[in-house]
Amino acid sequence: MLGADALVKCLELEGTKYVFGYPGVAICPFYNSILSSDIKTILIRTEQNAAHAASGYARVSDSVGVCAVTSGPGATNVITGIATAFADSIPLVVITGQVSSELLGSDVFQEADITGAVESFVKYSYLVRDVNDIPRIVKEAFHIACTGRKGPVLIDVPIDVQNAELKKFAYPESVKMRTYKPTVKGNMVQIRKVAEKLAKAKRPVICAGGGVILSCAQDSLRKFADKNKIPVVSTMMGIGVMPTKDPMYFGMVGNNGKPYANRAMNEADLIIMVGARVADRAISQPDLIMENTVLIHIDVDPAEIGKNAKPSIPLVGDARHIFDDLISIDINGNYDSWINSLRVYRQSMEPQREPDPSYVDPAGFITLLSEKMKDNAVYVADVGQNQIWSCAYHIVKNGRFLTSGGMGTMGYSIPAAMGAKLAYPKKQVVAVCGDGSFQMSMMELATIRQYDIPVKIIVLKNRYLGMVRQYQHFKYNDNYSVVDLGDLPDLSKMAGAYGIRFMKLSNMKKADSIIDEFLENDESVILECDIDPMDLVH
């Protein structure tokens, strides 16, 4: 058995169904071996999107996303996708081809020190020197990617190693690493302290981050919040932890969040921060929160606790295990008056918009769209104004909300939506992007068509890099610099060129019927919405 066969065999044993990638000479042995496997391959149109598609797949299927690209530019192109996954703790295994071992370090054609280059964006990386290490390394890579704080792992395989003969293929049943033992169960002493503090608190709030979803703790958190009647807010990555209309949910926090969610955080006397990094976009002044508040920080990664805010009670472990333990304790707090005041805030503080009726109002449109989407649909927001509008107005019912929260990588939505659709072909998957972010991934229309991946695409077209234009509006007194997209391209012709159905919405008058038609069949459609170029997200 060759090294390349062993790689494929390992992926099969890990249950991999799809490999997203782009071949080149250095990864050709692998792509030759995969032909005799049931694993499906998707030829993505640029390597960055291979990682995004694997990310969408991983997030929706709750498994490890896999991509495989060639050496040199193939490997360097995938870095942005890896960094995007790393920032949001998405489990990926990225296989890169590499030049022959004896040439390493001699700067030959398409050689790049990829393990060195990705060091700060991966959970771990391997450069395979001995073909007999392949089974152990792949086993470890999958284990590392999807346990503890999840994240991308890179395996760099020189072409001679892929072509070398293995002595014997034996896939290890378990992983033995003396340096890696993530904490799963929370410390019961700390958990009891949380319960004691909660019993004394008057205005508690749970701030849920993406870690809650990554550890599949949504149900446990909902049950805990419901049993003890504790209000919940979320970060951007935590959207979907609670259904948007749940009476105990009070929206997204942060500088782009709901004013009432931020008010809940500011007035709370106890905050349970769970699976969240306390990063600048969500909590701009962590010192202020800590002043008169009991901060309980739950995270599977000990390094996140105390990084940006010093908690009163640090609690390391998997969110699901911790909430399951917390549910079993009777706390008997009474926070009714606190919840009532939050409800008043929610009613009175919802930002009012005065949209220009000659355009599509993104707020009204996204609300209407998400009401009409299926209960378990996947909504993938890109980056830019479209992301902020999506966060503010998308109504999550029982589905998923995906976006690039940590890295804010434009062009994420279309490839991630493709990955999500392949993970669950029966689910409705809608990618919402702006005309800027659409153009960063529009080459994937070919992939969508070629492999018949029926994702729905909405382009909120405002002819600007809206988020930057808005920043320049406030900060530089409307001196717009390099943000005009020039009303290009003609999306109807683009769609036509790829044989994808095109629809257009110019204002809100026909929104109802157009959205119905857009969502109707399980086919790929591009819906272009004309947005007021001067519209702002605040």
Binding site: G116, E119, S120, M177, T179, A303, G306, K307
Partner: protein
């Protein structure tokens, strides 16, 4: 505040780069760094001296622990440890200062390990503070080259170990 991190790591290529990269990326200082094998050849010990406030020190330790090539991190302050550094100092001498140089070495417990007609190579193994004293004493002498290993340290012996 100076803190010493005694870090046991997997003895593999690239590990030094990963650990050093972590410090620079996260804006942590490295005052000195020394690496060598331990009694187990698959394990190296890195001795890193770093400074920062208590929050930084806690983060350094946590981030080190997060690295999958790091086996164990021990941290201690200088006064809880025995700390030594090796210094090589090559100086120019002449008839008039030769005696002074030799006396200074004797007082400080430094050794002259090599010499030529106009150069001396001085070796000293001591605490970083005492090495600094020696260097201060040689300010008036013409120094050709200096090499320092950085600090090596282990925690003081206790009954509980």
């Amino acid at each position: 505040m100076k803190k010493i991190y005694s870090v046991l790591v997997e003895n593999r290529s690239g590990v030094l780069c990963k650990v050093a990269g972590l410090f620079s990326r996260r804006n942590f200082n490295i005052d000195s760094l020394a690496v060598g094998e331990t009694d187990d050849r698959s394990v190296s010990r890195m001795t890193i001296v770093s400074s920062g406030d208590s929050r930084t020190i806690e983060q350094v330790e946590k981030q080190l622990n997060k690295k999958l090539d790091v086996i164990k991190v021990k941290t201690f302050f200088e006064d809880e440890s025995i700390c030594r550094e090796l210094l090589f100092l090559k100086v120019k001498y002449n008839k008039t200062n030769r005696r002074d140089i030799m006396e200074n070495c004797e007082i400080m417990g430094a050794k002259i390990v090599d010499m030529s007609t106009n150069l001396m190579l001085i070796q000293m193994c001591d605490t970083p503070e005492r090495i600094q004293i020696l260097l201060d004493m040689f300010k008036s002498v013409s120094i050709v080259e200096i090499a320092r290993t950085g600090c090596l340290a282990l925690q003081k012996c206790t009954e509980t170990e």
